[in-house]
């Protein structure tokens, strides 16, 4: 078990004491990242590279540690964020946003087949949701939603659109709020829709 306070103190010392602490921190990060990130996103993963980047970032940011959590948790949080971002970037590197653009632009089409039960209720809800997607969402929101529903992470979308994850999250969240409030405005609660479509959706191909 690593003594978090001791590790932090020794990292701020000098000479061999600090060198030993860096080796200890490196080992801790290596064990954590190797276990946690291996095979995540179905990719081969070199923990060594990520740990090196994380070590540099942690050592450069030591003065920003405020002691509001354990030092080891703070350090591992930095390392995980670096590792996850790198993995997501690699996972999405061959995907272009243009691949989500069809002849109909970034239109999102939803459908339900006629042979399913509760046809009237479901068809009505689908029609209302489709109307909201078409009229209330911006083209940017449809593009982000489309990519997200196709499996891209907000990190990946941010990379591909030259923005940041925070902005993409907000873009998608605002779209969700618009759809939810739009449905309520049309007399349908989101729970009604969820209940009606819990099972028996038709595979749209």
């Amino acid at each position: 078990m690593i003594d978090s306070d001791s590790l932090q103190r020794r990292l701020q010392a000098e000479g061999i004491e600090r060198d030993d602490a860096i080796v200890e921190l490196r080992g801790m990060l290596l064990r954590g990242l190797s276990t946690s990130l291996n095979n995540r996103y179905g990719q081969a993963f070199s923990a060594e590279d990520i740990v090196q980047d994380a070590l540099i970032k942690i050592l450069d940011s030591m003065d920003q540690f405020q002691g509001r959590c354990q030092f080891t948790t703070w350090a591992m949080t930095i390392a995980i964020r670096i590792g996850m971002s790198a993995l997501r970037r690699k996972y999405h590197q061959d995907v272009s946003m243009e691949s989500f653009r069809g002849e109909d632009g970034y239109r999102i089409e939803i459908a339900v087949a006629n042979e399913q039960g509760d046809l009237g209720e479901r068809s009505l809800m689908i029609a209302k949701l489709q109307q909201l997607i078409d009229t209330d969402l911006t083209d940017k929101q449809r593009m982000a939603m489309r990519a997200f529903l196709a499996g891209m992470s907000t990190d990946g979308i941010a990379d591909r659109t030259g923005t940041n994850r925070n902005a993409v999250y907000k873009l998608i969240h605002d779209a969700r709020v618009k759809l939810k409030s739009g449905l309520q405005r049309l007399g349908v609660s989101a729970d009604d829709v969820q209940e009606a479509f819990g099972y028996g959706l038709t595979q749209a191909r």
Partner: protein, 79 residues
């Protein structure tokens, strides 16, 4: 793009689960370490804990990072 059954289900789940969220990913990332350590009584509790929880419920990227972080901390404790 015509949504598959799974994508339509995901869209409906997303819309149904939407709640107001004043927190972004950057703010969440700033608090994630404290969120993980909140059970340690010697550390100051997070005032915005409900906001962090609400963001985590709605943001898959941050959820994934939390899970990865918890797994990494568990694994790192065995030297």
């Amino acid at each position: 793009m015509r949504l598959s059954q799974q994508q339509l289900s995901e869209l409906i789940e997303m819309v149904a689960a939407t709640r107001s969220d004043s927190m972004g990913c950057d703010d969440c990332a700033q608090l994630l370490d404290r969120f993980v350590d909140q059970s340690h009584s010697e550390h100051e509790p997070i005032r915005d804990i409900e906001e962090v929880k609400r963001h985590l419920e709605q943001c898959k990227c941050c959820q994934d990072e939390l899970q990865a972080l918890l797994t990494a901390i568990d694994a790192s404790e065995f030297a």
